[in-house]
């Protein structure tokens, strides 16, 4: 079994470890700043960028408002085009369906196109438990899989690794899973890419079954669309006899015309390219051309839960471009694994609690994994207002249905609130602060949970006279 995020510590603890890892911080900083710069330049050249964002948000909102109708249309069109549609309510059901479909082919080695949903549901491990080896073919996903590592980004899952770490993984692991790395492999990017190419080509040519996700499903024709950079996806989508696509129910767009909006935005936002090098589309099956058997597994796994949240549902507009994590000052210092999910960064901080419910300490810590700076709001191509959703989710934890509760914090804030809306008490409290302040040494460490402040900061001086005391003494500065 490969590694999973099961039992991962809550964000503050995972982040503390990540922040202390200098190599990790250097790698993540370099990578995010590079993509950030490329994206900014390509967005700049589009005078209609804000209009595109409006359109992209509005189209997704329309889809989400009429999701049932669009999904039935997808099922009808895919079936008419020769595909078979399956419905999965959760991860277990999706994994069972895919495992059965692969078993029916008799194959035990299959290839995969990088897909966030199959990572979300843990498909690789489910297949492995059934004796089926599923090999990733995207370069970064391969690095993660070979290194028995966990992903740290939705677009570039091995973003936390630098090239010499990648070289070591290739040399150590490739031979155990197929063609070994060439003798004398260096950390030259070209050499590393060639090593991966040779290792994977063997798998493309052998595999009879491929599993993919999809970036978009066009309802009017039942067409699936995969956007990628390396061509590995195109190989899987065309060379296999059987293609199984596992897709979240929110991936629908109504028409081909709507696809135009997203194809102009996705690569610009994700990798800082005008178009991704490979955009593949397919509709059912075609005799003598590509896979003869096509299955579409449509997965809910919490999406209807998110849809029921009137503020949170905007997270389902997400097209997984990763722009929010590339701009995020928190992600930049922790990397993605600290979020304990295949969805890290700002989108992970809202999507995980929306899909799963903030009912365990790890998930409930995610809405607080943000300084609310709002940089993500500005880059999101589908205009997700991350800060609005974070605040809503915090209120779910603080005083809503979430099973995780912070009782001491609630009691403290309630007590402070009671003093604050009581004039005389508050007056006395502010005046007392000056007296206490004089007795507090500047270098003092605060106790309990407040040590987070004094670990890296001096305490402020507390003036002897508050503003209100001054106002009263001088009659508003008149004396």
């Amino acid at each position: 079994m490969s590694k999973t995020f099961m039992g991962w510590p809550a964000f503050p603890r995972a982040a503390e470890t990540a922040v202390a890892d200098e190599q990790l911080r250097t790698n993540v900083r370099r990578a995010t700043h590079t993509i950030r710069g490329k994206r900014a330049a390509l967005v700049e050249e589009r005078p209609d960028w804000q209009d595109l964002r409006d359109a992209a948000a509005a189209l997704k909102d329309d889809v989400l408002a009429h999701l049932d109708t669009y999904l039935e249309q997808v099922e009808e069109r895919v079936t008419a085009a020769g595909g078979t549609v399956h419905w999965a309510v959760d991860a277990d059901e999706a994994n069972r369906i895919v495992t059965r479909l692969v078993r029916d082919t008799g194959e035990t080695e299959i290839v995969k196109v990088k897909s966030m949903l199959t990572e979300e549901i843990g498909l690789d491990n489910a297949l492995e438990a059934a004796g089926i080896s599923a090999r990733e073919t995207d370069l970064a996903a391969t690095i993660v899989q070979l290194g028995d590592d966990l992903p740290s980004h939705v677009v570039v899952p091995a973003l936390h690794r630098n090239r010499s770490e990648i070289r070591d993984i290739f040399v150590r692991e490739m031979g155990r899973h197929g063609r070994p790395a060439p003798e004398g492999l260096t950390d030259d990017p070209g050499e590393l890419a060639e090593a991966a190419r040779l290792h994977m080509r063997e798998k493309f040519l052998k595999a009879k079954v491929a599993v993919s996700g999809a970036n978009f499903v066009v309802a009017e024709t039942g067409t699936l669309c995969v956007v990628e950079s390396e061509g590995n996806g195109r190989m899987c989508l065309t060379l296999a006899d059987t293609l199984i696509s596992v897709v979240g129910i929110e991936k629908v767009v109504p028409t081909w015309r709507d696809l135009e909006v997203y194809l102009q935005m996705l690569a610009r936002s994700a990798t800082g390219e005008r178009m991704a090098p490979y955009t593949s589309t397919w509709t059912g099956t075609t005799d003598g051309d590509g896979p003869g058997t096509f299955h579409l597994v449509l997965v809910d796994n919490g999406r209807t839960r998110a849809l029921a949240d009137p503020v949170g549902r905007q997270a389902l507009r997400c097209i997984r471009c990763g722009a929010c994590m590339n701009i995020c000052p928190v992600y930049e210092r922790t990397g993605g694994q600290a979020y304990g999910s295949v969805y890290p960064g700002p989108i992970g901080a809202i999507l995980n609690p929306l899909l799963k419910g903030p009912d365990d300490p790890q998930t409930a810590s995610l809405p607080y994994a943000s300084s609310l700076c709002g940089a993500c709001n500005e880059v999101c191509p589908v205009r997700i207002r991350f800060t609005d959703v974070l605040l809503k989710l915090r209120s779910d934890v603080a005083e809503g249905d979430a099973k995780v509760k912070h009782r001491a914090e609630k009691a403290a804030l309630k007590a402070v609130g009671a003093v604050m809306d009581h004039g005389p008490l508050w007056n006395a409290a502010v005046r007392a602060a000056g007296t206490v302040g004089a007795a507090v040494p500047k270098g003092m460490k605060l106790p309990g949970p407040l040590h987070g402040w004094t670990d890296s900061r001096a305490l402020p001086d507390i003036p002897k006279e508050s503003f209100r005391a001054w106002w009263k003494r001088t009659e508003g500065g008149a004396k």
Binding site: T334, L372, D421, R468
Partner: protein, 261 residues
């Protein structure tokens, strides 16, 4: 006769009274007589940002009771000044309080962050200030994105006589404060703050200015812990000073005419 109230904010009241005094001095110089209703306490930002909407509603009710009768309420803080319009309606809805909802809708447009009050309501940029020191400015996230002040603070600063304004590298990046974030996620917050403090030092400025003392307390706390002499000052404390006050004691005087733009 319009009535104007100063909502000084709880942090300024207890920890930065100089900011409140400077606001009074400056507004008076610009012809605005402010009142300080002493029933005021906190806007409820800490409660709201941590998820406690019903507690926020209680403080919103208190805010309305204290300030509702005034024509305008001026706040020397972008984050606290922004809260009534950003949060009070949501808090009132969460508390199911229709009366409060009506009241806060009426109140919110009357609440002004101080620097935009000076530029937009009073129509002033040159406020006859004098501050012969090297200053860099950190646009806090609230003043940058939530209620964007844009170039206003820079225009006010550049009109100050004798000042040497230097650009802060990576100025748009959050300092890591984020209210309870700085305590709940102290490690990440500290790492963000460390980078911000480093950028401040790179400018060679003697003073770091902003329109939120909470963020300044964060960055200043780091600078002080690391033993650096950079002073943090709310923008209004710079704008309030005139030639009669002379240079600020204990801070190097900038070479005259050395304004970097």
């Amino acid at each position: 006769m319009r009535t104007t109230a100063l909502f000084v904010t709880c942090i300024n009241d207890a920890l930065h009274p100089g900011t409140g005094k400077a606001a009074v001095t400056l507004l008076r110089r610009l012809g605005v007589e402010v009142d300080f209703p002493d029933g005021q306490s906190c806007c409820g930002q800490m409660h709201y940002n941590t998820g406690y909407r019903r507690e926020t509603a209680r403080l919103a009710r208190h805010f309305v009771d204290v300030f509702g009768e005034y024509d305008e309420i001026v706040v020397p803080s972008a984050s606290c000044g922004g809260l009534p319009s950003e949060a009070y309606e949501i808090a009132a809805e969460a508390a199911g309080d229709a009366g409060l909802l009506r009241d806060v809708r009426e109140l919110a447009p009357k609440v002004h962050e101080l620097t935009s009050y000076i530029t937009d309501v009073l129509g002033r940029e040159d406020v006859d200030a004098y501050f012969p020191h090297r200053v860099t400015y950190h646009p806090t996230c609230h003043s940058l994105r939530a209620t964007p002040l844009g170039e206003r603070p820079y225009r006010l600063l550049r009109a100050v006589k004798g000042i040497d304004v230097v650009e802060l590298p990576a100025r748009d990046e959050c300092c890591g404060f984020g209210g309870t974030f700085s305590v709940k996620n102290g490690a990440v917050s500290g790492a963000m703050n460390g980078d911000k403090a480093r950028h401040v030092l790179e400018t060679g400025a003697s003073v770091l200015a902003a329109v939120d003392n909470s963020c300044l307390m964060n960055i200043g706390g780091r600078l002080a812990k690391d033993g650096h002499a950079v002073r943090t000052l709310h923008l209004v404390e710079i704008l309030a000073r005139t030639e009669a006050d002379g240079p600020l004691a204990g801070i190097p005087v900038a070479r005259s005419g050395g304004v970097l733009r």
